[in-house]
Amino acid sequence: MHATTPAISVERLVKIYNGATAVDDISFGLPQGSITGLLGGNGAGKTTTIATIMGLVTPTSGTVKVLGLDMPRQRYQVLHRMNFESPYVDMPMRLTVRQNLVVFARIYGVADVAGRVAQLAEDLELTALLDRPTGKLSAGQKTRVSLAKSLLNWPEVLLLDEPTASLDPDTADWVRGRLQRFCRERGATMLLASHNMTEVERLCERVIMMKRGVIVDDDTPARLLARYGRQTLEEVFLDIARGRGEAREAAQ
């Protein structure tokens, strides 16, 4: 694959569920090694967009390519090069942390399973928890286990849906640091859906704003702040969510 091929390419994506349009003709491309935030309120279409990129949802029309391969048609040629983390899925609770990580390492085709699990456990401070049932862990510890699972295969593309939801600020900050370090060291591409504006400001070099299934803005955090005349992304988010962005555009 050429280095210029986008890590993720979404072209005129439409997804309609039983007559309701979840995603309406959106297009964007993410260069390799970039970190992008996908922002929007509830029902904006973020989860559907990410699920389509993962091959979990078939588009009604349009195309989605990951590392140059068509999703979902060619998903089995690319899924081993990507990974994800989401609060909407769990790891089996009765299995120990080690068992879960070993199972997924083998599914993802990791060569040195024991070595990789030990390395991630050390990086994410899970070593003391490896032989405990996953269901017995605290929310923060479970998130670290999910994060370890999402990094098992050194993914070139990492999709994260609310990666720090329900975490205390300290743990959330710690998780962000680990994600940032992984992407910097491995040149991985990260797409992050979040409601947490602090998280997006800290991690993302680009922000895609969605509302009711369409992209309403797409720029760097600095340019978004300047364009909306705001101090924080949260204020920009509220402007867009409450329609003030559209009103400003109409006035201009």
Binding site: L56, Y76, Y88, L95, Q99, V103, I107, G109, P133
Partner: protein, 270 residues
């Protein structure tokens, strides 16, 4: 489904089998559940047969028919349940999303579920078959090659039904859970587990003969009562099983595609 998606990886299948094995061995109620109900069924039918055989000449000659029927029925029922419960464990654990967004192919997932169905069946049925010898002197292992033919046909049917039910669960979420537990009971009267096909009304007999297990239970009665192994019945059952298995696999893939279209994989609860 593309050729790439059909390619099998023994490593991934092994990973899934170990996932279910870790779960099974971590929970003694799950293991006990595999044994106790088949044992209760076998004992109940065995004692009933003992009583009847003491009071009716026909049944005195047909030693082991009820116990044999119970054991073979449990292969069919427990085979499907073993397959479906392993699948349901993923839904209970909210782990299906992790698997569906991983490189695990559907064919590997199904292969792992089939292997787990065999493991669960072995844990449940081997002790029960030994109990049947101890209590009633009925040695199902003594059926030899006939048992192998019965087993292959019954397990193929159970997997076909398990695959179809898994597709329904993928497409409809936990709303289809009761199907996993009860669908096989539809087969209980129709496949003539405890009585000959001729007992059924004539219009229902054609339906019974369209189901592979009917041939197995008829074959078992022919063996235990008439001392004849009906290879012809086993071959007909196998041919029907090939068709049933292929139809279930196609239905599973269609339901999986439909789940992707309707976004059902995103939300696999009720």
């Amino acid at each position: 489904m593309s050729g790439a998606s059909m390619a099998l990886s023994r490593r991934r299948i092994g990973a899934m089998v170990s996932r279910y094995w870790y779960l099974l061995r971590s929970s003694w109620p799950r293991i006990l559940d595999l044994i106790y109900w088949p044992a209760v069924q076998m004992l109940m039918w065995g004692f009933l047969q003992t009583y009847i055989s003491q009071n009716a000449g026909y049944f005195a000659q047909a030693g082991g028919v009820f116990i044999g029927a119970v054991l073979l029925w449990d292969i069919l029922f427990r085979g499907q349940l073993g397959f479906s419960i392993s699948f349901l464990e993923e839904m209970y654990a909210r782990n299906l999303g992790n698997l569906m967004m991983s490189p695990l192919r559907p064919v590997e997932f199904v292969a792992a579920l089939m292997i787990m169905s065999l493991i669960r069946l072995a844990i449940g049925m081997v002790p029960v078959s030994l109990l049947a010898i101890a209590f009633f002197g009925f040695n199902v292992w003594g059926l030899g090659l006939a048992l192998a033919a019965f087993f292959v046909n019954l397990i193929l049917t159970s997997w076909a039904i398990g695959i179809f039910v898994s597709g329904l669960l993928l497409r409809n979420g936990m709303g289809a859970e009761s199907m996993a537990w009860t669908i096989m009971f539809l087969f209980l009267p129709l496949t003539c587990v405890y009585y000959p096909v001729t007992v059924l009304p004539e219009w229902l007999q054609w339906l019974a003969w369209s189901l592979p297990p009917t041939y197995v239970f008829e074959g078992m009665r022919a063996l235990l009562i008439g001392q004849v192994f009906r290879a012809d019945l086993m071959l007909q059952a196998f041919a029907l099983n090939v068709v049933l298995f292929a139809a279930a696999s196609v239905a599973f893939l269609k339901l999986l595609d439909s789940a992707r279209v309707h976004g059902s994989l995103l939300q696999s609860s009720e």
